[in-house]
């Protein structure tokens, strides 16, 4: 079976009909709007997997982020709702002041428990729960930011055999977050912002293996 053995090495070959990846998670903080715009607007309308996103925001902010991004993208971008099952061609953003989590049955949950890394939503919370739910069929992406949220989560994604991508800190508005991620995990790819979307589209097509 193709879904049993997690592997940190080269990607396993897959026969027709089996998908190497089933979801992507992204985390961003300071400078994240521009980074998310760059990546999401470069994804094709029929992007084959769902995208789950945490962007740090002030708790009071009205969630205009999903609306703004939705207008600029071919995939549909919306605020995540509890209990929904993420679908391909869609991106889901954690609401301000709520953690976003993935359940074992791959439905979404929201939570208002304590802040993690001073943040709610926290990137680690999304990444860790998604890693357990999707195992090696997950791509994790850490983007620009001025704190270290996401590092721990990326390590868990790696542990479960997922693929880790980090924005090249030199192309980040705030370098600390991608830098911390690179230092804490043997990530698979460190690439400039504009190359992230092409890389991911390539990964889904089975390139870069």
């Amino acid at each position: 079976m193709s879904d049993s053995v997690p592997s940190a090495g080269p990607l396993p070959r897959h026969g027709a009909g089996t998908m190497r990846y089933e979801a992507m998670v992204m985390g961003a903080s300071a400078g994240g709007l521009e980074a998310l715009q760059t990546i999401l607007s470069a994804l094709p309308a029929h992007f084959a997997i769902p995208v789950l996103i945490v962007q740090h925001l002030s708790p009071q902010s009205e969630n205009l982020l999903a609306e703004v991004l939705n207008r600029q993208c071919r995939i549909v971008v919306q605020e995540a709702e509890e209990k929904e099952t993420p679908r391909a061609g869609m991106a889901y953003i954690a609401p301000p002041d709520y953690h976003l989590m993935v359940e074992a049955d791959r439905t979404l949950s929201l939570s208002r428990e304590e802040r993690v890394n001073f943040s709610r939503p926290s990137i680690d919370v999304l990444f860790e729960t998604a890693a357990e739910a999707y195992g090696d069929k997950l791509i994790g992406v850490v983007l620009t930011g001025a704190n270290a949220d996401g590092s721990q989560g990326l390590r868990v994604i790696k542990k479960f055999g997922g693929t880790c991508v980090v924005q090249d800190p030199r192309t980040a508005v705030a370098a600390r977050m991608p830098q911390a991620a690179i230092e804490s995990t043997r990530v698979d790819y460190v690439v400039p912002l504009v190359e992230i979307a092409p890389l991911i589209v390539g990964l889904l097509e089975g390139k870069h293996g």
Binding site: P6, E81, E82, K83, E84, P95, Y98, M101, V102, E103, A104, S109, L110, S111, R112, E113, E114, V125, E128, T129, E132, A133, G135, F160
Partner: protein, 283 residues
């Protein structure tokens, strides 16, 4: 991964032990949420495994009390989500005013901040004197805090802002007295409140409520348990009564369409329909 499956099994056994020994039923809470809380306690107390924690829970009631606090998220604040309270003022109070006596149930009230907020609101709208507020939670520790009505002074600035954003008509300082590093809420705000132990999963109906407020509680339940609790609320509401859920709680409205009218989508405020015979009320 086998590790993961084993861990999930250990968590199931822990929840089963808690249920059998103490009667608290977490078996239909969101698993991702429970798992984070349990792992956190495991890490803090240095348990080698979850099974070890299960043994401890079975033998040590004090440890269970601590775990109960971990599993029930008690994070709350005064006038949390101020726009909700504003909507109550503008859309619900007019209806409540038509009744000679008003029963309000705040389910999952945690340490009481939401209860005092509602009491203030009802007072400012002139209907507090004919209201009875039932404030319930399944956690004795937080209920005791709610009864006392003493809160840390360093939160007051944020609460005052929330109060103002919620459409508050006076100075928030009118409602508490400060002493040292704490504030004590005015006794009048407690006068018409009954604090009581009630478990939404295992306890029964609370009859004839005009309004039920249950925010940020069922967000931690799975779909099946959410449905069960919403049924409990439906049975506890009078016809024309109001059900207020948390802003991001997506009770799949379509399923309740024949029983509930959505009054405010963003704030998740619903009104229970009148029975079909009473059609004049249902336009």
């Amino acid at each position: 991964m086998d590790d993961l499956e084993n861990q999930n099994l250990e968590i199931k056994l822990l929840l089963e032990a808690i249920f059998q020994k103490y009667g608290y039923d977490f078996r239909n809470y969101s698993m991702a949420h429970l798992k984070r809380r349990i792992s956190r306690r495991q890490l803090l107390d240095g348990f080698a495994s979850i099974s070890e924690m299960t043994n401890r829970v079975i033998c040590d009631a004090d440890f269970f009390d601590r775990l109960l606090l971990d599993l029930s998220i008690n994070v709350t604040e005064m006038f949390r989500d101020p726009t909700f309270f504003k909507a109550i003022r503008h859309q619900v109070v007019t209806f409540l005013k038509t009744y000679p006596f008003i029963k309000v149930w705040v389910a999952g009230c945690a340490s009481g901040e939401e209860v005092y907020s509602l009491a203030i609101l009802l007072q400012e709208e002139g209907i507090y004197d004919r209201a009875q507020i039932y404030a319930t939670d399944f956690n004795q520790v937080v209920l005791e805090k709610a009864r006392k009505g003493i809160y840390a002074i360093d939160r007051i600035k944020a609460y005052t802002e929330n109060y103002q954003k919620s459409g508050g008509q006076r100075s928030f300082a009118d409602y508490y007295s400060a002493r040292y590093d704490a504030v004590l809420m005015a006794a009048a705000l407690r006068e018409r409140v009954v604090f009581a132990d009630h478990n939404l999963v295992t306890d029964g109906v609370f009859g004839q409520m005009h309004m039920i407020v249950c925010r940020n509680v069922i967000i931690y339940f799975d779909r099946q348990l959410q449905k069960k609790v919403v049924c409990l609320f439906m049975e506890s509401l009078i016809d024309g009564g109001f059900l207020c859920m948390g802003q991001k709680e997506s009770l799949s409205f379509s399923e309740y369409f024949d029983q509930l009218v959505l009054i405010n989508e963003k704030e998740k405020i619903f009104q229970k329909r009148y029975p079909p015979g009473d059609r004049s009320q249902n336009e």
